[in-house]
């Protein structure tokens, strides 16, 4: 399996305002990598840099072996799908049209989505179980539904790498788990997945590798069992947690202590 994403000692941030330094990671097909860290810790900035939306302030980002800084946006969008934390929705496009927008990188400059593109969008809506939302304006659906639509839009790009910025942040408990399940099945289908979360339980549940993002530094990536420990969580979040193991649990459950 070829390497899809590689970051080599990437410094990220804005000119004159560094956010983080020296981030290195690699993702191959079928890999899941979770970036775990507190809100405002620079996860989104790192994602933007890894997607070439922000220029790296140092180091290199390689997408399928090519330097992303030299790539056309269209080529990037055919490889990497991006699910932003939220998308405001300025105009009442239907959910169907919103998902169709994911097809843009596969269209000619002057083309509109074809029957085939519509079929792809329709299939993805059905697979994600939100086909009944197709005609609803994006502006009138709930936050959780929007999150699913944004995932559908990224999947409509037919990417080999899916980057999700806090995909479960605005979801209720049930939908959080459904999204995690979806992520797992996409990965077992060969998609490389990079996502961020501030919930250590999710990082452990996904059974991939984990990197901690804290104070502008990356710890890891490595196996969840090595990276997510009571000591590292105390260091990052300043809370005390218990790791609960049981014979029927494949991974430990993490429960915070209330003082």
């Amino acid at each position: 399996m070829g390497m899809i994403l590689e970051a080599r000692a990437v410094d990220y941030g804005y000119p004159g305002k560094a956010v983080g330094r020296d981030a290195s990671l690699t993702l191959s097909a079928g890999d899941v990598l979770v970036l775990l860290g507190p809100n405002g810790g620079g996860k989104s900035t790192l994602f933007r840099t890894l997607l070439g939306l922000l220029p790296a302030q140092g180091g290199r980002v390689l997408l399928e072996g090519q330097d992303i800084a030299a790539m056309d946006r269209k080529m990037v969008a055919r490889i990497a799908g991006y699910v932003p934390q939220s998308s405001p929705g300025y105009f009442p496009f239907t959910v169907f049209d919103t998902v169709l927008m994911g097809r843009t990188a596969r269209l000619g400059l002057f083309s509109s989505p074809s029957r085939h593109d519509q079929a792809v969008a329709g299939r993805i809506l059905s697979e994600l179980g939100i086909a009944d939302l197709a005609d609803e304006p994006y502006t009138r659906i709930s936050g959780g539904q929007r999150q699913m639509v944004l995932i559908a839009r990224a999947l409509a790009q037919e990417p080999r790498l899916l980057v999700l910025d806090e995909p479960t942040a605005s979801l209720d408990y049930g939908n959080q788990l459904r999204v995690l399940q979806r992520i797992r099945s996409l990965a077992s289908g060969g998609m490389a997945i990079l996502l961020s979360t501030h919930d250590p339980n999710q990082a452990v549940l996904l059974d991939g590798s984990v990197a901690l993002v804290h104070d502008g530094r990356l710890t890891g990536p490595g196996p969840a069992a090595d990276i997510v420990t009571p000591a590292s969580l105390w260091n990052v979040y300043g809370v005390e947690v218990d790791f609960i193991t049981a014979p029927n649990l494949s991974a430990p459950a993490i429960r915070p202590r209330l003082a």
Binding site: R48, R73, S87, P88, F96, T139, Q157
Partner: protein, 347 residues
């Protein structure tokens, strides 16, 4: 509703969203040709059309024929083009700037055209020269705004910087216009300037159409071709780029297109506000936000709206009411009504 139904609706909704504006436009245009101080019946209209097509004459009063072909038809056609141009440019800008409160002169094209016209009048240029000065003024103003915005390299939100630069340059040009008025001969030039700035189609001739039509069509072409990408441009800049758009290039193209159209419209009709702001809203209510339907709906509604307002301007009172004034009197309450009726036009 199912996905299959949504795909089907994609094609049938096309018709529904366009039929209403098309019928309205046709009705308003026909009515505008018949209404006026010299009444013209629909039968006269048919006869004049037949006579013009076959070359035969005699069936119609020559006065009626002159009024129709030399006076009303040029005005209706000019109103059609100006209205369609302003509404199309407004629709494109509202999508691109992701803001339904944007009008086509947000980047200073109207102020630039106004200053160009003022200079033309002060220099005693002929009518065509004033029109050309206005057109060039509009283009130069937007070019200056664009260059300033590009110079702000660290812009986190390039769209916001563009709007800011537009506001700044617009008010600077406004000061230039005021200075021109202050310096102008109060008996001769000042009324001409005031009249120009108020906007009017009273002097529209058939000979204006070859000047007006090419820039309007030239501006429409990229909007039609890029119709799908304009939808994606309505997302945040970063999202649009993540979906594969070269947003900087597309934005530049659309600004050129909208500026050509608006400058042509303003240099023919003077400053006609409101259409570029209000009509795209109306079009969005009729045809939805998808630009492939929004653009034709906006163009037709804008054309119909301006024909109607111009007809009122020349018939309501014994003296012609300035188009810009009447347009604001009608446009502002109309916009308020729209806001009240649909509290969620854009949400």
């Amino acid at each position: 509703m199912s996905v299959a139904a949504a795909i089907r609706l994609g094609s049938s909704g096309w018709l529904a969203g366009l039929l209403v504006p098309a019928v309205l436009l046709l009705g308003v245009a026909l009515a505008a040709l018949t209404i006026g101080r010299i009444p013209v019946g629909f039968s006269d209209l048919i006869h004049v059309t037949l006579a013009a097509l076959t070359g035969a004459s005699g069936a119609v009063d020559p006065l009626v024929e002159t009024v129709l072909l030399q006076v009303r038809l040029p005005r209706v056609l000019a109103a059609l083009l100006v209205g369609a141009a302003l509404a199309s440019a407004g629709a494109a800008y509202q999508s691109m700037f992701r803001n339904p409160l944007v009008s086509p002169d947000i980047l200073g094209v109207s102020s630039g055209a106004g200053l160009g016209a003022v200079i033309g009048i002060l220099l005693s240029l002929p009518a065509v020269g004033i029109q050309a000065a206005a057109f060039i003024g509009g283009l130069v103003a937007v070019a200056v705004v664009y260059v300033i915005a590009m110079a702000v390299r660290r812009a986190h939100d390039p769209v916001l910087i563009l709007v800011l630069a537009g506001v700044i340059v617009g008010s600077l040009l406004g000061a230039g216009i005021s200075l021109g008025k202050y310096l102008a001969d109060p008996y001769d030039k000042l009324p001409a300037i005031t009249f120009w700035l108020l906007g009017s189609l009273a002097s529209a001739r058939l000979s204006d159409l070859p000047v007006l039509l090419p820039p309007v069509l030239l501006g429409l072409v990229p909007m039609v071709l890029l119709r799908w990408r304009i939808n994606v441009m309505a997302l945040d800049d970063e999202e649009a780029r993540a979906l594969g758009l070269r947003t900087g290039l597309l934005r530049a193209l659309l600004i050129v297109a909208a500026t050509l159209m608006t400058a042509a419209a303003v240099s023919t009709a003077g400053i006609v506000g409101w259409i570029g702001l209000v009509v795209p809203h109306l079009a969005r209510m009729v045809a939805g936000p998808n630009f492939a339907r929004l653009l034709p709906a906006a163009a037709m509604l804008g054309a119909g709206y301006l024909i109607a307002v111009d007809t009122l301007a020349r018939t309501l009172a014994p003296v012609e009411i300035p188009l810009g004034v009447l347009n604001a009197f009608i446009g502002a309450p109309f916009f308020i009504m729209l806001l009240l009726r649909t509290r969620r036009i854009w949400a």
